[in-house]
């Protein structure tokens, strides 16, 4: 009889061992870092044993992309390109050439709604500076003459490019973060990372799902709510989610809000009835460019463009607080608005 007891006690002791060890099963090997780059906060969440090394490599890569493509600091290739506008071709590296070409392509697809030669106007408005102003109509009309994506001339054979007119300025602000995000994912893949999330100033990219296999839950920013508030959630794996809106950078003068997304045709902040757009796609360079593009195009044209593109879905938020979602996203979009001010329109 004592033997039976001893066996039972032994089993219990084994249970204790199992319990103690299984308690640690959930030990996350999550590595999270926050870094200030490209003028904003880069957050990386990586599940991998070498995460710290990988995160550093990603940050270095992003820093490199920033120095090559920025026009807010000296040095770099785009500055060279802009300085040589109307004069001569300049040599560009592989990354810059790629992004410039992509930007030009988006100019074509959107018929000029997305145009990186908008640099002179951005500078004039100064929305990104401490002294924004409303330029005069005549100044805007003058500067509009310098805005034309067709003036981006790329010579692939020699890896050079040139802007046709003197005074033209390329501003890759609407697409560079997208490129950087994809570069980060490439690095994660190189090391065999299976689960990661990176945010580049609010541009979200996901690699795989979470370690337990469930998709990442990405909130869509509430354009009128506080930081971190959202009106809906998309459940994604291996997708980029990028939002644009009139809430990101703006200033107010005489009761009018002037935001940073300029319409390349009018020279004024895009005013097509949208306050926020979000693109979900496989690559963030596309999501980055398209989120700005469809914001400028407006709900109808924007929907049409997104529906014509493979593998791209979108969320549109109008100024009358209505939310529209493309068909392909309906299954993974969950409407959740705590402010109760928005309405989800399911049928158009």
């Amino acid at each position: 009889m004592t033997k039976k007891f001893s066996i039972i006690i032994l089993c219990l002791a084994l249970c204790m061992g199992v319990l103690l060890s299984s308690c640690r099963l959930n030990s996350s090997n999550l590595y999270e870092t926050h870094e200030f780059l490209m003028g904003t906060v880069i957050i990386q969440k990586i599940y991998h044993k070498d995460a710290d090394k990988i995160a550093k490599e990603v940050n270095d890569r992003i820093a490199g992309i920033e120095s090559a493509m920025t026009i807010n600091k000296s040095g770099g290739e785009i500055n060279l390109l802009n300085d040589a506008a109307g004069k001569e071709y300049v040599k560009l590296g592989e990354d810059t050439l790629y992004v410039l070409n992509k930007a030009k392509q988006y100019g074509e697809i959107s018929n000029g709604a997305f145009d990186v030669t908008i640099g002179p106007l951005v500078k004039s408005w100064g929305v990104f500076t401490d002294n924004p102003k409303v330029p005069s109509k005549s100044e805007i009309d003058e500067l509009l003459k310098l805005v034309n994506y067709k003036d981006i001339n790329i010579d692939f054979e020699n890896s050079t490019a040139m802007l046709s007119k003197k005074g033209q300025i390329v501003d890759l602000g609407g697409i560079a973060k997208g490129f950087a995000g994809d570069a980060a994912i490439e690095i994660y893949k190189k090391y065999g990372v299976e689960s990661a999330l990176i945010s580049l100033g609010g541009n979200i990219l996901t690699l795989g799902g979470k370690p337990d296999g469930t998709p990442w839950s990405v909130g869509i920013r509430n354009p009128r709510g506080a930081d971190g508030s959202y009106i809906g959630i998309v459940s994604v794996k291996d997708k980029a989610v990028v939002s644009s809106g009139d809430y990101e950078r703006f200033f107010e003068k005489d009761g009018v809000r002037y935001h940073h997304i300029l319409d390349p045709k009018t020279g004024y902040p895009a005013n097509t009835g949208l306050i926020g757009t979000t693109i979900v796609s496989d690559y963030s360079i596309d999501a980055d460019a398209l989120s700005t593009t469809v914001f400028v195009l407006g709900l109808e044209e924007g929907m049409k463009l997104v529906e014509s593109l493979e593998g791209v879905e979108a969320v549109f938020i109008t100024e009358d607080k209505k939310i529209y979602v493309t068909d392909g996203l309906k299954d993974t979009f969950t409407f959740k608005d705590e402010s109760k001010e928005f309405e989800y329109v399911e049928k158009r």
Binding site: F5, I9, L12, A13, C15, M16, L19, L20
Partner: protein
Amino acid sequence: MNNVKKTILLGLFVSQALILSIVESWIPVPAPVPGVKLGLANIITVITIIFFGFREALAVVFVRCVLSSIFGGGGWMLFLFSVTGGILSAAVMSLLYKSGRDKFSITGISIAGAISHNIGQILVAAFFMKDLAVAVVLPVLLISGCIMGFFVGLVSSFLEGALRKTRIFD
């Protein structure tokens, strides 16, 4: 048994329990809160129940705890921990004992007593912390309680036999 003899024997039990208390405080217990003990002193509680009864066992537990917290320092918090566990386990064990020795073995009773002892202590800890979160140690504590209860039961069975032979308690 006359009262003087009873008092002396119970006094001896208290001192034995005290020593066991001190010894068991040397054994580390997997709980984030101080005062949680394994329950070695339950050996004495069981023996008191067998040879005397519930009321006497309660008295022994109480006196043992008072003395233990006076000698061991730790103040009234430690006292509350020991006394709650001790009372709960004494109650459970005497209940089982009274309902029949043919139904429950000393070992089984001791395991039940050890479990009650641990649960009582966790309840007190939760009350102190005003937070039920302490209960996360329950699974581990319960298992160690079982093992300890088994040990206590074995020792108690032996002790019972040995003590009966001495005929002191007749």
